[in-house]
Amino acid sequence: MQVPILKQGNYLIASVQSALSDDDLRLLRDDLSDRVGRFRSTGVIIDVTALDVIDSFATRTLQSVAQMLKLRGAYTVIVGIRPDVAFVMVQLGLTLADVGAALDLEEALEHLNNRRRRNLYEHRAKDTGEAGRLGRAGSSPNRPGLSPSRANRRADREGQPRSGHASPRSMEHGR
């Protein structure tokens, strides 16, 4: 089954409706990759609320989709991992590195907006990939003198305000 992809401003939203087969995932990957380029999207949200099992294969696939999209210039946020599923995933040792996570769509959009904000103010000179790592919990390799957690917290704080000026402008870029 094909995964529907919606465009929302600068971001793309893909809602996975059922258990994905390999072909579906390949299709999703190519589709997202194509649209990220076409719409110049900076963020992709993959909603997995409908998945009752996320095994190592699914994780690997989601991670590789995210890594690929990162190379295409978009940051990926996974949304809607259920409590049970999250618990099983960590028991298996699956942690979705390089991917953001949020409770629901709303949160994910916020997460992406914060990230954009952060990029614009703090890392104007740096490339997106490096700044991208700041978004992940507890890792900030490029901030000497601060503990990872602190840096992360500070980054979150600074990133919090909505991108009042920046976003609308860049959204026009997207269109």
């Binding site: 949020a102 992406l112 907006n113 957690s149 909505r162």
Partner: protein, 315 residues
């Protein structure tokens, strides 16, 4: 426990006696005699019940209950007990004992009293067994061998069922997930963390994150005396799983012993965000959330103006 050990030694000494009955395989004989005994118990139900209640009164158990109440409960336990002896299935008796506990405790009774009356019943029945077979010592031994393990198993099962029930209750009590602010949960952990409890805690926390839409969770382990590597890894897993659900975890109140243990064990702490005490943790969490509270209702299309406010911070 001690009784079981005693019984085993006795059983070990017994086989020569059974060898004296070569015509009947003694397992079968045992079963048959036990069934006979069960029948005897049914026939003498009232008499034995009264005897038992007398013992209960002598031992000053269940003093909070009236004679009639004690009698009703006692006959019920008796019937369940005989049933369990016959079928070997203790579940009905366990369930009954639990409900009995619920009735006894409000009257000032205690769990151990229920266990003790079950033990008294066992001994009352053993006495009756002795009376019935006192003329035939060989048969008495065989019936006793069948009766004792069954009776011990019942007593054991009843006792264990209480312990399990209490453990369960304590577990539920000891891991509350509290909401202190919107999007902020606190999970104070008190007491020793074993793997099972740690697991339950994680499940509760993750459900709490979803149900309360939490963004930050403060896990306070001030009340945790020690930690082993399994539980430590579990804590790290909890932090990870919370992240997968979009929430960040702050761990507070880590004692120097635990901190040292974690470092010595080489637990991967790169993902753990620790703050000294609960107060600091809540402050940190609020700082995290404080900026969020200022935000406009989140929605991608409607970019807020609060950015203005922060412009000075960033420039």
């Amino acid at each position: 426990m001690k009784r079981i050990v005693e019984k085993k030694t006795r059983q070990g000494a017994n086989p020569p006696k059974f060898a004296a009955h070569p015509t009947v395989p003694h397992d079968e004989a045992k079963d048959l005699l036990l069934l006979q005994f069960v029948e005897h118990l049914r026939q003498n139900r009232m008499q034995l019940c009264e005897e038992w209640i007398e013992h209960i009164a002598q031992a000053e158990l269940l003093t909070g209950m009236s004679k009639e109440e004690t009698f009703t409960e006692a006959t019920s336990v008796y019937d369940n007990y005989v049933e369990a002896l016959e079928s070997g299935s203790v579940e009905a008796l366990q369930a009954y004992a639990r409900t009995l506990c619920e009735r006894v405790i409000p009257r000032g009774g205690e769990t151990h009293e229920v266990v003790e009356i079950v033990l008294l019943l066992r001994d009352t029945l053993a006495r009756s067994l002795l009376r019935k077979y006192q003329n035939d010592f060989k048969v008495f031994n065989i019936v006793l061998d069948a009766y004792e393990p069954a009776a011990n198993r019942i007593a054991n099962a009843v006792a264990v069922s209480f312990v399990q029930q209490q453990e369960e209750a304590i577990r539920r009590l000891s891991t509350p997930v509290l909401q202190v602010r919107e999007r902020l949960l606190i999970l104070p952990i008190i007491g020793v963390l074993d793997t099972r409890r740690a697991r339950q805690l994680t499940e509760q926390l993750l459900r709490g994150i979803r149900d309360k839409r939490a963004k930050v969770v403060v896990v306070d382990i001030t009340g945790v005396p020690t930690i082993d590597s399994k539980v430590a890894n579990h804590l790290v897993q909890t932090v990870e799983a919370s992240r997968l659900m979009g929430a960040s975890v702050i761990i507070t109140g880590m004692s120097s012993e635990i901190a040292q243990t974690l470092v010595t064990l080489g637990v991967d702490l790169s993902k753990v965000n620790a703050v000294g005490d609960l107060q600091g943790g809540i402050e940190e969490a609020e700082r995290l959330l404080g900026y969020e509270v200022l935000r406009d209702p989140p929605c991608a299309g409607t970019e807020g103006h609060t950015g203005e406010k922060y412009a000075s911070t960033h420039s």
